[in-house]
Symmetry: D2
Subunit: 355 residues, 4 copies
């Protein structure tokens, strides 16, 4: 008799539910993980609103850690019961995109993001890990689940934002929006040598976290045009790089406007909410000739990168846990998801624990 588990699914656009599903079996290159902790991501809120076409009944979630439940025949070097984290993006590592280093684009655009879009997500009691050899990351003993779970998406995405800003030490960077991914971009920019970080954010609790994670200056866009504020703060010269962590055309355009010639715009915002094309005004774009560069990307996965995030936590260089504003048992997942949708009570990231 097949054993079952509970999973948090999208029933149809606008509706979620907890349902029973069979505990999955691993293919030769896969693993099954029993979930111990997870985070809810705003991108699932978008998914439930209908931003992405998803099959009804598909399990949501892509930020989970747990213990190895079973391993496929071709997976070596891991043991059942071992504590592991799995990135939101789980590339095959063997297609031409992966071989070129674009693992998040596994098999084609955004193809490394398999949970929810191509298979069941992992807001469930058990979940499948594709290409487990590369995608299972052992969690060091000293690192608790509530720390490790930030490696699955928030830190990897935010740090990618800082990497694509290609900072030289001491340079100035503006980070637009200090939601969890923007906060991680701030932390990443601070870690990778920024000399000055200007964080754009209006909510006091997020401003405070931004400061804690390394921001030097806060720009509150409710107090005036953030572009003007940043230009004033930089004596009219602008910043070396700007990170877009909001996902709106105005913010994207502002990133272009605040960067000096030779500057980099690094996009990590998800632009699926607003169907209008992003705009590149010709003055800010230097008529196409001002040596600016725009980079895009999607949460990079893989246990090598995850291991480096853990090393930074282990050595005390980063601590993402102040972003966990709320904790719920999986039994209360629906309530947690509602709060993530309404963004009430100053919620940043709700941690979900599994019995």
């Amino acid at each position: 008799m097949t054993e079952t588990m509970r999973a948090f699914v999208i029933k149809q656009v606008g509706e979620t539910a907890v349902v029973e599903k069979p505990i999955p079996e691993p293919g030769p290159e896969e693993a099954i993980v029993r979930t111990t902790a997870a985070l809810i991501c705003t991108s699932d809120v978008h998914t439930v609103k209908g931003a992405l076409p998803v099959e009804p009944g598909r399990t949501l979630g892509h930020e989970s850690v747990g213990v190895v439940h079973s391993l496929g025949s071709a997976v070596t070097g891991f043991t059942e019961g071992q504590r592991v984290a799995v990135n939101a993006v789980t590339p095959c590592y063997r297609c031409s995109y992966c071989q070129r280093g674009f693992t998040s684009q596994c098999g084609g655009a955004l193809g490394g993001y398999k949970y929810t879009t191509q298979m069941d997500g992992n807001m469930a009691e058990y979940f499948v890990v594709p290409a487990a050899q590369a995608n299972l990351t052992p969690i060091p003993d000293r690192l608790s689940d509530d720390w490790a779970v930030y490696s699955c998406d928030m830190l990897s995405t935010g740090f990618m934002g800082a990497e694509h800003a290609r900072l030289n030490f001491g340079e100035t960077v503006a980070v637009f929006a200090q939601g969890p991914v923007g906060l991680c971009a701030t932390m990443g920019a601070n870690l990778m040598g920024a000399g000055r970080i200007i964080a754009v954010e209006s909510r006091p609790e997020r401003q405070a976290l931004a400061k804690r994670f390394g921001a030097d200056d806060i720009v509150d866009f409710t107090q005036g045009d953030p572009v003007e504020q940043i230009m004033d703060m930089t004596d009219g010269e602008g910043v070396d790089a700007a990170i877009e962590a909001f996902g709106f055309p105005q913010t994207f355009e502002a990133c272009l406007r605040v960067t000096k010639a030779g500057g980099r715009v690094s996009n990590i915002g998800y632009h699926g909410e607003n169907p209008a094309p992003l705009q590149l005004p010709l003055d800010a774009f230097g008529l196409g000739m001002n040596d600016k560069a725009i980079h895009t990307g999607l949460c990079p996965g893989g246990n090598e990168r995850m291991g480096r995030l853990f090393q930074l936590m282990m050595s005390g260089r980063i601590d993402p846990t102040p972003m966990t504003t709320h904790t719920f048992a999986f039994d209360d997942i629906s309530r947690a998801f509602e709060m993530m949708t309404s963004k009430e009570d100053g919620i940043i990231k709700p941690l979900i624990t599994f019995g």
Copy 2:
């Protein structure tokens, strides 16, 4: 009594003239060059139409070679009478932008482009060379002026387009438009390891030159949507990089559409004709997450780079002279400029010779 020379100037928007001006004297870091050959650039046609605000009476031109007439006190290692080329962009090499490697953005956006915009251009019998130590390039004896003059803008800009495409050997690149800069981008991509070059162009004589310079395939946009044609040619996958050498929103957008995830869009087109912002449609931009990158830039100057272009000519690896479709004496500069405006008679680049 001051000696005078003839110079080709903009009198006001829409009007040019040949006028007498004093032969300039060099400041300590400058040199004066007596012009022997020049090319007319389409960007001067734009300037005369009013694309850039330029002081009335300003000398036009930025693609000239000649011989050293006199040297400032701080300039060493050159001799009067020596044959030299000077890039369209003449950076100071000492400001913070230059030190960061963005020499075309000397002092700020597009600031390395000084001829016509900040000082007299060099479509004149004599011209000033700022920061001459870095901006005077000796022309090898074996290289005639009609070859060397292509280093001033066309080859440097086109090759920058190929450099910003960051090709791995054997990759596929599309080059949109085969005007002189686009043709040089084709030549550059071929030189830097492209495995397949798809040139977008409708005029037969430019298609022929594109083939001669390394294009493998021609896409005629009058025969159907070039995006569809390129997607078909690449089995629906798209190209690794696209070079925009036309300067229109549609072409820019097409570049984004034809690149696969992880692809690069390298802009060398001048987008000063059409005031509308460029657009990034969200599907082609992967919602900001498909690892695409967009690079912009402006003709890089400096005698080190110019010397490398000459080396490629000297060793027979490149020959730009098939682009010279017409030759005029400086006496006939007005007629040449008219033809460059009307683009009549299949004109690509008119060479101007000085007595």
Copy 3:
């Protein structure tokens, strides 16, 4: 009853033989290829001389192409009977080294090189392909086996040498030794934008091939110190990059000596013959402060890179077949191996064909 095949093995140091072995069966991630053509590599000559510790009876060879004989259960997108090439290096693509991009160091130093050192090589009628999803490369119909087989090691290694030279267009590079890998480095440097290639070689037939593949100048080291010759040829300044394709301390040191400050030394020579450490003389090394860089590497594998090599052949940009000086049937493999050892009759690469 297990079917058998013939394989060319090392019996013990100094002795080879053709033996019968069972035709292998594929694991879930593997494929079996029936060999149609192969090249003999000098590194196998070194192996037989005892340079690497290899288990007696191990099949030699790592430059083979063929057709898919059978596929493991986890391998998709290939079909039995399909023509394929396999690189000498067959990484897993999933370990931390592979994820960091150092696929030739799969699992640890030189670990991507599995044939002969970790498993049977492929100078046999059938051979195993590990991680087949990434390591099987379809051969385009228009490309015959005698072309495709050069992608397995020679072109990939030689081109890596040129890549590590990190050439800007128009720069000068010296390539030390024009054996098959050095010749491919010359071809690669030419393809990737070199402005001048100085090939160091004394044998006339190799000098001729070097010229054919893009060398501008030949330095014959039997006619005087090659360092002095190269310094003279470059007006005492030296070259931008030097590629070591010989594998001796003197050549390595010469590479360091001929590079100017800021220069790159790219090593592709196999330094297993001479046990003495390589030396970095302090003057040529600028007391450790002259911005020189030294890069090492091992033939990169993977079907993405192999596909780009095929594209360069398909478009007519490269043709490696002039290096095939001799052809033998597999029946005559022992004679071919003897000639590769003695280097008699001007042999460069012997092609082995399979019935």
Copy 4:
């Protein structure tokens, strides 16, 4: 009547003196700075011992800050009396080496290092600044001289060491020797995203500073082979990068030995003490094939980089002043130099103040 100043000079090998010299006059591109604070560098100790051939009577010193005394005619944007710092390396920014980005190699190997070797150094009451437009760095008001003076050599060189280690966030780096430059390399690696820093040092006071500047682990080479200790600490795998900040063949070789395949060795040690060539043992060098890279370099100058160092100090991210173990008035420069030679009393850097 020419005014005079005092300068600290080398009289002959092994002998120094304070002498009177005329206060210099600036050329058109130069500035004269009146010194307010300086540091003594161990490389001057080497120079006095005879490591570099230096003209008798040459002023020593290359780590000085002060106020602008006078400006050449071509220098703009600075004012007399302005507080400024000047890097030890003062490139022209216009030669081919500078244009290629190798400004420390201005005009040829090590040519950017002009003080003492090509002109009087700046351990004097006044000094000349070549190419002042690029080499004068305004000191922010909030930054005192004893902080600013660390930008002249220590921080720029140490941070270059970390830059050449090309760290991905979270990687492990070993820094060999924690003299002032090694300490700055530790600080730089910490600032640029290292996940674990292993500092090799035996002196307790330097170990303590290393910890303060970001080292996670200390290896005391008097307690056992540092290579073995580091391999043990990394579970036999080795480090991603090693920085050589000592300048001895054994340390250089150890750097190669402790790096894993794909690792980087970044040299900042000055190897002028020991004339023997450095050695690359073939096992640690992977027979030339293990994807290791070796980078060398010399203190990068320029006010753009200096400004970024100041920004890091201004924002509180770095504080180099704990390295100042001793302070002397310029009157006592001879005593200070003696102590720097004997390394007595735990001296790290002595600050010299000018009346």
